[in-house]
Amino acid sequence: MQPLTNRAVPVNRDPMSFGERIYVPAILKGLRITLGHIFRKKATYSYPEETRPFSPVFRGLHVLNRDEEGRERCTACGLCALACPAEAITMEAAERKPGEEHLYREEKYAAKYEINMLRCIFCGFCEEACPKDAVYLSETVMPANYTRRSFIYKKEDLLIAHPKQQQN
Protein backbone atom coordinates (compact mmCIF):
# COMPACT_ATOMS: atom_id res chain seq x y z
CA MET A 1 0.00 0.00 0.00
CA GLN A 2 1.39 3.40 -0.85
CA PRO A 3 1.99 5.69 2.14
CA LEU A 4 0.06 8.96 1.97
CA THR A 5 2.90 11.17 3.15
CA ASN A 6 6.62 10.70 3.42
CA ARG A 7 6.70 11.62 7.12
CA ALA A 8 6.20 8.10 8.42
CA VAL A 9 9.13 6.87 10.50
CA PRO A 10 9.50 3.11 10.96
CA VAL A 11 9.40 2.02 14.62
CA ASN A 12 12.81 1.25 16.05
CA ARG A 13 12.52 -2.33 17.28
CA ASP A 14 16.21 -3.02 17.86
CA PRO A 15 17.01 -4.74 21.14
CA MET A 16 18.23 -2.31 23.78
CA SER A 17 21.91 -1.58 23.86
CA PHE A 18 23.90 -2.04 27.05
CA GLY A 19 23.74 1.65 27.84
CA GLU A 20 19.98 1.59 27.42
CA ARG A 21 19.53 -1.54 29.48
CA ILE A 22 21.24 -0.30 32.58
CA TYR A 23 19.08 2.87 32.50
CA VAL A 24 21.83 4.89 34.15
CA PRO A 25 22.64 7.20 31.19
CA ALA A 26 18.92 7.83 30.71
CA ILE A 27 18.55 8.56 34.42
CA LEU A 28 21.43 11.02 34.28
CA LYS A 29 19.87 12.74 31.30
CA GLY A 30 16.61 13.04 33.20
CA LEU A 31 18.41 14.43 36.23
CA ARG A 32 20.05 17.06 34.09
CA ILE A 33 16.67 18.16 32.74
CA THR A 34 15.19 18.45 36.22
CA LEU A 35 18.26 20.31 37.41
CA GLY A 36 17.76 22.75 34.60
CA HIS A 37 14.20 23.36 35.70
CA ILE A 38 15.32 24.40 39.15
CA PHE A 39 16.96 27.49 37.73
CA ARG A 40 14.13 28.58 35.50
CA LYS A 41 11.68 31.36 36.12
CA LYS A 42 8.70 30.11 38.10
CA ALA A 43 5.27 30.20 36.55
CA THR A 44 3.42 30.87 39.81
CA TYR A 45 1.45 34.04 40.43
CA SER A 46 1.50 35.11 44.08
CA TYR A 47 -2.25 35.60 44.37
CA PRO A 48 -3.58 37.89 45.89
CA GLU A 49 -0.55 40.13 45.53
CA GLU A 50 -0.34 39.56 41.78
CA THR A 51 -3.19 38.53 39.52
CA ARG A 52 -2.82 36.94 36.18
CA PRO A 53 -3.74 38.99 33.12
CA PHE A 54 -7.26 38.27 31.86
CA SER A 55 -8.35 38.59 28.28
CA PRO A 56 -10.99 41.26 27.48
CA VAL A 57 -13.64 38.59 26.94
CA PHE A 58 -12.99 36.78 30.21
CA ARG A 59 -16.20 35.38 31.71
CA GLY A 60 -16.18 36.01 35.44
CA LEU A 61 -18.86 37.13 37.88
CA HIS A 62 -22.09 38.64 36.63
CA VAL A 63 -22.98 42.29 36.99
CA LEU A 64 -26.33 43.96 36.37
CA ASN A 65 -25.84 47.12 34.44
CA ARG A 66 -27.31 50.55 34.81
CA ASP A 67 -27.59 53.16 32.10
CA GLU A 68 -25.91 56.58 32.05
CA GLU A 69 -28.51 58.15 34.35
CA GLY A 70 -28.27 55.37 36.89
CA ARG A 71 -31.47 53.55 36.08
CA GLU A 72 -31.47 49.76 36.14
CA ARG A 73 -31.51 48.24 32.71
CA CYS A 74 -32.94 44.87 33.60
CA THR A 75 -36.62 44.44 32.74
CA ALA A 76 -37.06 40.89 34.03
CA CYS A 77 -37.90 39.60 30.56
CA GLY A 78 -36.51 36.21 31.47
CA LEU A 79 -34.46 35.65 28.33
CA CYS A 80 -31.29 35.10 30.36
CA ALA A 81 -33.05 32.52 32.54
CA LEU A 82 -34.32 30.81 29.39
CA ALA A 83 -30.90 30.79 27.80
CA CYS A 84 -29.07 29.54 30.86
CA PRO A 85 -28.10 25.91 30.29
CA ALA A 86 -27.65 25.30 34.01
CA GLU A 87 -30.96 26.97 35.05
CA ALA A 88 -29.10 29.14 37.50
CA ILE A 89 -31.07 32.40 37.11
CA THR A 90 -34.43 33.08 38.70
CA MET A 91 -36.32 36.36 38.85
CA GLU A 92 -39.59 37.95 39.88
CA ALA A 93 -40.94 40.89 37.98
CA ALA A 94 -42.70 43.95 39.39
CA GLU A 95 -44.43 46.99 38.00
CA ARG A 96 -42.83 50.38 38.18
CA LYS A 97 -44.81 52.73 40.41
CA PRO A 98 -45.23 56.38 39.24
CA GLY A 99 -42.61 57.82 41.58
CA GLU A 100 -39.82 55.46 40.58
CA GLU A 101 -38.91 56.64 37.09
CA HIS A 102 -35.40 57.50 38.09
CA LEU A 103 -34.79 53.99 39.36
CA TYR A 104 -35.92 51.82 36.50
CA ARG A 105 -35.87 52.36 32.73
CA GLU A 106 -39.10 50.65 31.74
CA GLU A 107 -42.34 49.77 33.35
CA LYS A 108 -41.33 46.26 34.24
CA TYR A 109 -38.36 45.65 36.46
CA ALA A 110 -36.88 42.79 38.42
CA ALA A 111 -37.94 42.87 42.06
CA LYS A 112 -35.93 39.75 42.83
CA TYR A 113 -33.05 38.58 40.65
CA GLU A 114 -30.99 35.68 41.90
CA ILE A 115 -28.17 33.77 40.30
CA ASN A 116 -27.06 30.53 41.95
CA MET A 117 -23.32 30.67 41.44
CA LEU A 118 -22.92 27.00 42.25
CA ARG A 119 -25.04 26.11 39.25
CA CYS A 120 -23.62 28.76 36.96
CA ILE A 121 -21.12 27.46 34.45
CA PHE A 122 -19.98 30.94 33.34
CA CYS A 123 -20.79 30.23 29.72
CA GLY A 124 -21.97 33.75 28.93
CA PHE A 125 -25.24 32.77 27.24
CA CYS A 126 -27.15 35.13 29.52
CA GLU A 127 -24.90 37.97 28.41
CA GLU A 128 -25.54 37.11 24.77
CA ALA A 129 -29.30 36.67 25.24
CA CYS A 130 -30.04 39.89 27.07
CA PRO A 131 -31.82 42.39 24.79
CA LYS A 132 -31.25 45.32 27.16
CA ASP A 133 -27.48 44.99 27.73
CA ALA A 134 -28.24 44.38 31.37
CA VAL A 135 -26.19 41.30 32.26
CA TYR A 136 -22.48 41.31 31.73
CA LEU A 137 -19.81 38.90 32.85
CA SER A 138 -17.00 40.86 34.44
CA GLU A 139 -13.40 39.97 35.13
CA THR A 140 -13.89 39.13 38.81
CA VAL A 141 -13.09 35.58 39.83
CA MET A 142 -15.70 34.01 42.08
CA PRO A 143 -14.50 34.03 45.71
CA ALA A 144 -14.83 31.03 48.02
CA ASN A 145 -17.39 30.76 50.78
CA TYR A 146 -18.61 28.47 53.54
CA THR A 147 -22.29 27.75 52.99
CA ARG A 148 -24.36 26.89 49.92
CA ARG A 149 -26.80 29.65 50.73
CA SER A 150 -24.16 32.34 50.46
CA PHE A 151 -23.52 31.36 46.85
CA ILE A 152 -26.97 32.49 45.73
CA TYR A 153 -26.17 36.04 44.68
CA LYS A 154 -29.08 38.44 45.05
CA LYS A 155 -29.78 41.53 43.00
CA GLU A 156 -27.95 43.76 45.47
CA ASP A 157 -24.76 41.70 45.08
CA LEU A 158 -24.96 41.85 41.32
CA LEU A 159 -25.89 45.44 40.59
CA ILE A 160 -23.03 47.76 39.82
CA ALA A 161 -22.75 51.00 41.74
CA HIS A 162 -24.80 54.04 40.75
CA PRO A 163 -22.59 56.15 38.45
CA LYS A 164 -23.77 59.50 39.79
CA GLN A 165 -23.68 58.52 43.44
CA GLN A 166 -20.26 56.99 42.99
CA GLN A 167 -18.77 60.29 41.97
CA ASN A 168 -19.91 61.96 45.17
Partner: protein, 355 residues
Protein backbone atom coordinates in the same frame (compact mmCIF):
# COMPACT_ATOMS: atom_id res chain seq x y z
CA UNK B 1 25.17 0.20 97.48
CA UNK B 2 23.82 -0.64 94.05
CA UNK B 3 22.52 2.89 93.75
CA UNK B 4 25.94 4.36 94.47
CA UNK B 5 27.73 1.88 92.25
CA UNK B 6 25.78 2.61 89.08
CA UNK B 7 27.24 5.27 86.93
CA UNK B 8 24.41 7.78 87.02
CA UNK B 9 26.24 10.27 84.90
CA UNK B 10 26.58 7.72 82.12
CA UNK B 11 22.86 6.98 82.25
CA UNK B 12 22.04 10.68 82.21
CA UNK B 13 24.43 11.23 79.35
CA UNK B 14 22.95 8.40 77.30
CA UNK B 15 19.40 9.53 78.02
CA UNK B 16 20.29 13.05 77.02
CA UNK B 17 21.85 11.83 73.81
CA UNK B 18 18.84 9.65 73.02
CA UNK B 19 16.47 12.55 73.59
CA UNK B 20 18.59 14.81 71.44
CA UNK B 21 18.77 12.30 68.62
CA UNK B 22 15.01 11.67 68.78
CA UNK B 23 14.28 15.37 68.64
CA UNK B 24 16.70 15.88 65.79
CA UNK B 25 15.21 12.94 63.87
CA UNK B 26 11.68 14.23 64.33
CA UNK B 27 12.72 17.75 63.44
CA UNK B 28 14.62 16.69 60.35
CA UNK B 29 11.75 14.46 59.24
CA UNK B 30 9.24 17.28 59.74
CA UNK B 31 11.31 19.68 57.72
CA UNK B 32 11.99 16.98 55.17
CA UNK B 33 8.29 17.13 54.36
CA UNK B 34 8.65 20.88 53.85
CA UNK B 35 11.81 20.35 51.84
CA UNK B 36 10.14 17.70 49.71
CA UNK B 37 7.36 20.06 48.72
CA UNK B 38 9.76 22.91 48.03
CA UNK B 39 12.15 20.75 46.01
CA UNK B 40 9.27 19.22 44.08
CA UNK B 41 8.00 22.72 43.36
CA UNK B 42 11.24 24.21 42.10
CA UNK B 43 11.73 21.26 39.84
CA UNK B 44 8.25 21.75 38.43
CA UNK B 45 8.60 25.48 37.71
CA UNK B 46 6.49 26.57 40.64
CA UNK B 47 7.04 27.77 44.20
CA UNK B 48 6.34 25.47 47.08
CA UNK B 49 4.40 26.33 50.22
CA UNK B 50 5.19 29.91 51.09
CA UNK B 51 2.15 31.07 53.01
CA UNK B 52 2.49 29.39 56.42
CA UNK B 53 5.20 31.46 58.00
CA UNK B 54 8.16 32.97 56.13
CA UNK B 55 9.08 30.73 53.20
CA UNK B 56 6.44 28.28 54.38
CA UNK B 57 8.59 27.12 57.29
CA UNK B 58 5.60 26.61 59.59
CA UNK B 59 3.97 24.29 57.05
CA UNK B 60 4.96 21.09 58.90
CA UNK B 61 3.35 22.54 62.01
CA UNK B 62 0.19 23.24 60.03
CA UNK B 63 0.22 19.72 58.62
CA UNK B 64 0.75 18.18 62.03
CA UNK B 65 -2.08 20.20 63.56
CA UNK B 66 -4.36 19.28 60.69
CA UNK B 67 -3.66 15.60 61.27
CA UNK B 68 -4.32 15.97 64.99
CA UNK B 69 -7.68 17.59 64.42
CA UNK B 70 -8.95 14.96 62.04
CA UNK B 71 -11.31 12.26 63.13
CA UNK B 72 -9.65 9.09 64.36
CA UNK B 73 -11.30 6.23 62.48
CA UNK B 74 -10.80 2.54 63.22
CA UNK B 75 -12.88 0.53 60.75
CA UNK B 76 -15.32 -1.77 62.51
CA UNK B 77 -14.30 -4.90 60.61
CA UNK B 78 -10.57 -4.42 60.96
CA UNK B 79 -8.31 -6.27 63.32
CA UNK B 80 -8.18 -3.51 65.88
CA UNK B 81 -4.97 -4.40 67.70
CA UNK B 82 -3.02 -4.91 64.51
CA UNK B 83 -4.51 -1.77 63.04
CA UNK B 84 -3.00 0.36 65.77
CA UNK B 85 0.16 -1.72 65.96
CA UNK B 86 1.09 -1.29 62.29
CA UNK B 87 2.07 2.38 62.26
CA UNK B 88 3.52 2.07 65.74
CA UNK B 89 5.88 -0.69 64.62
CA UNK B 90 6.84 1.22 61.54
CA UNK B 91 7.73 4.27 63.57
CA UNK B 92 9.61 2.29 66.20
CA UNK B 93 11.77 0.44 63.70
CA UNK B 94 12.41 3.70 61.87
CA UNK B 95 13.72 5.31 65.05
CA UNK B 96 15.60 2.29 66.37
CA UNK B 97 18.35 2.44 63.79
CA UNK B 98 19.41 5.86 64.96
CA UNK B 99 20.84 4.32 68.10
CA UNK B 100 24.00 2.95 66.57
CA UNK B 101 24.99 5.71 64.18
CA UNK B 102 28.08 7.62 65.26
CA UNK B 103 27.04 11.23 65.08
CA UNK B 104 30.47 12.63 65.82
CA UNK B 105 33.79 11.85 67.48
CA UNK B 106 33.81 11.60 71.25
CA UNK B 107 34.86 14.65 73.19
CA UNK B 108 36.05 15.45 76.69
CA UNK B 109 34.23 17.49 79.29
CA UNK B 110 35.44 17.70 82.88
CA UNK B 111 37.54 14.60 82.54
CA UNK B 112 34.74 12.46 81.10
CA UNK B 113 34.76 11.19 77.54
CA UNK B 114 31.33 11.55 76.05
CA UNK B 115 30.73 9.61 72.89
CA UNK B 116 28.15 10.74 70.38
CA UNK B 117 26.98 7.24 69.65
CA UNK B 118 24.27 5.81 71.83
CA UNK B 119 25.19 2.14 71.47
CA UNK B 120 28.51 1.06 70.03
CA UNK B 121 27.67 -2.58 69.49
CA UNK B 122 30.13 -4.73 67.63
CA UNK B 123 27.56 -6.00 65.11
CA UNK B 124 26.47 -2.56 64.00
CA UNK B 125 25.95 -3.26 60.32
CA UNK B 126 24.04 -6.45 61.02
CA UNK B 127 21.78 -4.57 63.43
CA UNK B 128 20.88 -2.05 60.73
CA UNK B 129 20.11 -4.85 58.37
CA UNK B 130 17.96 -6.62 60.93
CA UNK B 131 15.95 -3.54 61.85
CA UNK B 132 15.32 -2.75 58.21
CA UNK B 133 13.95 -6.25 57.75
CA UNK B 134 11.62 -5.88 60.72
CA UNK B 135 10.39 -2.61 59.27
CA UNK B 136 8.53 -4.59 56.64
CA UNK B 137 6.16 -5.79 59.36
CA UNK B 138 4.77 -2.32 59.86
CA UNK B 139 3.60 -2.16 56.28
CA UNK B 140 2.29 -5.71 56.21
CA UNK B 141 0.31 -5.25 59.41
CA UNK B 142 -1.16 -2.05 58.10
CA UNK B 143 -2.36 -3.65 54.91
CA UNK B 144 -3.70 -6.79 56.54
CA UNK B 145 -5.44 -5.11 59.42
CA UNK B 146 -7.30 -2.72 57.14
CA UNK B 147 -9.61 -5.45 55.89
CA UNK B 148 -9.44 -3.92 52.44
CA UNK B 149 -8.48 -5.72 49.22
CA UNK B 150 -6.45 -2.87 47.83
CA UNK B 151 -4.50 -2.23 50.99
CA UNK B 152 -3.73 -5.93 51.23
CA UNK B 153 -2.48 -6.06 47.66
CA UNK B 154 -0.37 -3.03 48.20
CA UNK B 155 1.14 -4.30 51.41
CA UNK B 156 1.92 -7.63 49.75
CA UNK B 157 3.68 -5.77 46.99
CA UNK B 158 5.56 -3.71 49.53
CA UNK B 159 6.65 -6.75 51.48
CA UNK B 160 7.80 -8.63 48.38
CA UNK B 161 9.67 -5.56 47.18
CA UNK B 162 11.39 -5.13 50.52
CA UNK B 163 12.56 -8.70 50.85
CA UNK B 164 13.75 -8.87 47.25
CA UNK B 165 15.99 -5.89 47.65
CA UNK B 166 17.26 -6.89 51.07
CA UNK B 167 19.31 -9.64 49.49
CA UNK B 168 21.24 -7.37 47.18
CA UNK B 169 21.64 -4.95 50.10
CA UNK B 170 23.15 -7.70 52.22
CA UNK B 171 25.51 -8.92 49.55
CA UNK B 172 26.81 -5.43 48.85
CA UNK B 173 27.33 -5.04 52.58
CA UNK B 174 29.39 -8.25 52.58
CA UNK B 175 31.69 -6.73 50.00
CA UNK B 176 31.99 -3.63 52.18
CA UNK B 177 32.72 -5.85 55.16
CA UNK B 178 35.58 -7.43 53.28
CA UNK B 179 37.12 -4.02 52.84
CA UNK B 180 36.57 -2.74 56.35
CA UNK B 181 37.08 -5.97 58.24
CA UNK B 182 34.70 -4.96 60.99
CA UNK B 183 30.96 -4.67 61.54
CA UNK B 184 31.34 -2.00 64.20
CA UNK B 185 30.18 1.32 62.84
CA UNK B 186 32.58 3.43 64.86
CA UNK B 187 35.50 1.46 63.45
CA UNK B 188 34.19 1.86 59.92
CA UNK B 189 34.06 5.61 60.42
CA UNK B 190 37.50 5.67 62.02
CA UNK B 191 38.94 3.91 59.00
CA UNK B 192 37.62 6.69 56.80
CA UNK B 193 39.47 9.37 58.74
CA UNK B 194 40.34 12.50 56.78
CA UNK B 195 40.01 12.34 53.04
CA UNK B 196 43.33 11.37 51.52
CA UNK B 197 45.72 8.90 53.01
CA UNK B 198 48.56 6.79 51.63
CA UNK B 199 47.97 7.73 48.04
CA UNK B 200 44.23 7.03 47.87
CA UNK B 201 40.98 8.38 49.18
CA UNK B 202 39.96 7.04 52.54
CA UNK B 203 36.21 7.15 52.06
CA UNK B 204 34.59 3.83 51.23
CA UNK B 205 32.82 5.31 48.25
CA UNK B 206 36.08 5.32 46.35
CA UNK B 207 36.96 1.83 47.44
CA UNK B 208 33.56 0.33 46.64
CA UNK B 209 31.84 2.43 43.95
CA UNK B 210 29.76 -0.43 42.58
CA UNK B 211 28.82 -1.48 46.09
CA UNK B 212 27.68 2.06 46.82
CA UNK B 213 25.56 2.12 43.70
CA UNK B 214 23.89 -1.18 44.57
CA UNK B 215 23.32 -0.07 48.17
CA UNK B 216 21.81 3.18 46.93
CA UNK B 217 19.37 1.47 44.58
CA UNK B 218 18.38 -1.04 47.24
CA UNK B 219 17.86 1.70 49.80
CA UNK B 220 15.46 3.42 47.42
CA UNK B 221 13.54 0.15 47.30
CA UNK B 222 13.62 -0.31 51.06
CA UNK B 223 12.30 3.19 51.63
CA UNK B 224 9.37 2.58 49.26
CA UNK B 225 10.41 5.73 47.55
CA UNK B 226 10.08 6.56 43.88
CA UNK B 227 10.88 5.07 41.49
CA UNK B 228 10.06 2.08 43.70
CA UNK B 229 6.96 3.51 45.34
CA UNK B 230 4.49 0.97 44.05
CA UNK B 231 3.12 0.28 47.56
CA UNK B 232 1.94 3.83 47.85
CA UNK B 233 1.22 4.37 44.18
CA UNK B 234 -1.31 7.11 44.45
CA UNK B 235 -2.75 6.56 41.03
CA UNK B 236 -2.86 2.81 40.98
CA UNK B 237 -3.76 1.39 44.33
CA UNK B 238 -5.59 4.41 45.71
CA UNK B 239 -3.43 5.22 48.67
CA UNK B 240 -1.92 1.80 49.10
CA UNK B 241 -1.46 0.30 52.51
CA UNK B 242 -2.37 3.48 54.34
CA UNK B 243 -5.75 3.85 52.68
CA UNK B 244 -7.87 3.20 55.76
CA UNK B 245 -5.79 5.28 58.11
CA UNK B 246 -6.67 8.76 59.21
CA UNK B 247 -5.39 11.36 61.60
CA UNK B 248 -2.35 10.57 63.65
CA UNK B 249 -1.94 6.94 62.56
CA UNK B 250 -1.60 8.15 58.99
CA UNK B 251 0.66 10.84 60.32
CA UNK B 252 2.84 8.17 61.89
CA UNK B 253 3.10 6.25 58.62
CA UNK B 254 3.98 9.29 56.58
CA UNK B 255 6.32 10.63 59.21
CA UNK B 256 8.03 7.27 59.71
CA UNK B 257 8.74 7.16 56.01
CA UNK B 258 10.63 10.44 56.26
CA UNK B 259 12.45 9.32 59.38
CA UNK B 260 13.44 6.18 57.51
CA UNK B 261 14.77 8.38 54.75
CA UNK B 262 16.77 10.41 57.25
CA UNK B 263 18.22 7.32 58.91
CA UNK B 264 19.03 5.65 55.59
CA UNK B 265 20.85 8.78 54.47
CA UNK B 266 22.76 8.69 57.75
CA UNK B 267 23.69 5.03 57.19
CA UNK B 268 24.75 5.75 53.61
CA UNK B 269 26.88 8.65 54.74
CA UNK B 270 28.41 6.59 57.54
CA UNK B 271 29.22 3.52 55.51
CA UNK B 272 30.35 5.08 52.28
CA UNK B 273 31.01 8.75 52.67
CA UNK B 274 33.10 8.87 55.78
CA UNK B 275 30.48 9.66 58.40
CA UNK B 276 31.65 12.75 60.21
CA UNK B 277 35.06 12.94 58.54
CA UNK B 278 35.94 15.77 56.21
CA UNK B 279 39.12 16.77 54.38
CA UNK B 280 41.34 18.83 56.63
CA UNK B 281 39.84 17.62 59.88
CA UNK B 282 43.17 17.13 61.60
CA UNK B 283 44.06 20.76 61.05
CA UNK B 284 40.71 21.84 62.44
CA UNK B 285 41.05 19.48 65.41
CA UNK B 286 44.28 21.19 66.39
CA UNK B 287 42.71 24.64 66.36
CA UNK B 288 39.54 24.19 68.40
CA UNK B 289 38.70 22.46 71.67
CA UNK B 290 37.38 18.92 71.39
CA UNK B 291 33.75 19.82 72.16
CA UNK B 292 33.62 22.36 69.36
CA UNK B 293 35.36 19.91 67.06
CA UNK B 294 32.70 17.30 67.76
CA UNK B 295 30.07 19.86 66.96
CA UNK B 296 31.77 20.72 63.68
CA UNK B 297 32.03 17.05 62.76
CA UNK B 298 28.37 16.49 63.61
CA UNK B 299 27.40 19.47 61.45
CA UNK B 300 29.43 18.11 58.53
CA UNK B 301 27.65 14.80 59.02
CA UNK B 302 24.28 16.54 58.97
CA UNK B 303 25.28 18.32 55.77
CA UNK B 304 26.06 15.01 54.14
CA UNK B 305 22.74 13.60 55.32
CA UNK B 306 20.87 16.59 53.94
CA UNK B 307 22.74 16.15 50.67
CA UNK B 308 21.54 12.57 50.45
CA UNK B 309 18.00 13.53 51.35
CA UNK B 310 18.03 16.11 48.58
CA UNK B 311 19.35 13.46 46.21
CA UNK B 312 16.50 11.12 47.18
CA UNK B 313 14.00 13.86 46.49
CA UNK B 314 15.69 14.78 43.24
CA UNK B 315 15.40 11.21 41.96
CA UNK B 316 11.82 10.91 43.17
CA UNK B 317 10.64 13.86 41.15
CA UNK B 318 12.55 12.87 38.04
CA UNK B 319 11.93 9.21 37.42
CA UNK B 320 8.67 7.44 36.59
CA UNK B 321 7.55 4.53 38.70
CA UNK B 322 8.66 0.98 38.02
CA UNK B 323 6.08 -1.59 37.01
CA UNK B 324 5.86 -4.50 39.39
CA UNK B 325 7.47 -7.05 37.12
CA UNK B 326 10.21 -4.63 36.16
CA UNK B 327 10.83 -4.08 39.84
CA UNK B 328 11.11 -7.79 40.59
CA UNK B 329 13.30 -8.34 37.55
CA UNK B 330 15.60 -5.61 38.69
CA UNK B 331 15.83 -6.96 42.21
CA UNK B 332 16.39 -10.62 41.52
CA UNK B 333 17.83 -10.86 38.05
CA UNK B 334 19.98 -7.76 37.87
CA UNK B 335 20.99 -6.53 41.28
CA UNK B 336 21.78 -9.86 42.94
CA UNK B 337 24.15 -11.02 40.16
CA UNK B 338 25.67 -7.55 40.15
CA UNK B 339 26.15 -7.64 43.91
CA UNK B 340 27.66 -11.12 43.71
CA UNK B 341 29.96 -9.93 40.96
CA UNK B 342 30.97 -6.98 43.12
CA UNK B 343 31.69 -9.31 46.03
CA UNK B 344 33.80 -11.67 43.93
CA UNK B 345 35.64 -8.76 42.37
CA UNK B 346 36.36 -7.25 45.77
CA UNK B 347 37.52 -10.57 47.11
CA UNK B 348 39.77 -11.18 44.15
CA UNK B 349 41.20 -7.68 44.30
CA UNK B 350 41.87 -7.92 48.01
CA UNK B 351 43.66 -11.23 47.63
CA UNK B 352 45.78 -10.25 44.67
CA UNK B 353 46.28 -6.50 44.42
CA UNK B 354 45.78 -5.21 47.95
CA UNK B 355 47.62 -7.58 50.22
Amino acid sequence: MLLLQTDWILIAEKLGLITLILLVSLGVAAYATWGERKVAAVMQDRRGPNRAGPLGLLQPLADGLKLFFKEEIIPSHSAKVLFVLGPAMFMVTALMTSAIIPWGPSFEIAGRTISLQVADINIGVLYIFGVVSVGVYGIMLGGWASNNKYSLLSSIRAASQSISYELALGISLIALLMVTGSLRLSEIVEQQHGFWDNGYFTWNFFKQPLGFFIFLVCSFAELNRAPFDLPEAESELNMGYHLEYSSMKLGLYLFAEYINMFITSAVLATLFFGGYNFPGMDWVAAQVPSGVFSLICASVFMLKIIGFILFFMFIRWTLPRFRYDQLMNLGWRTLIPLALFNMILTGAAMLTIFK
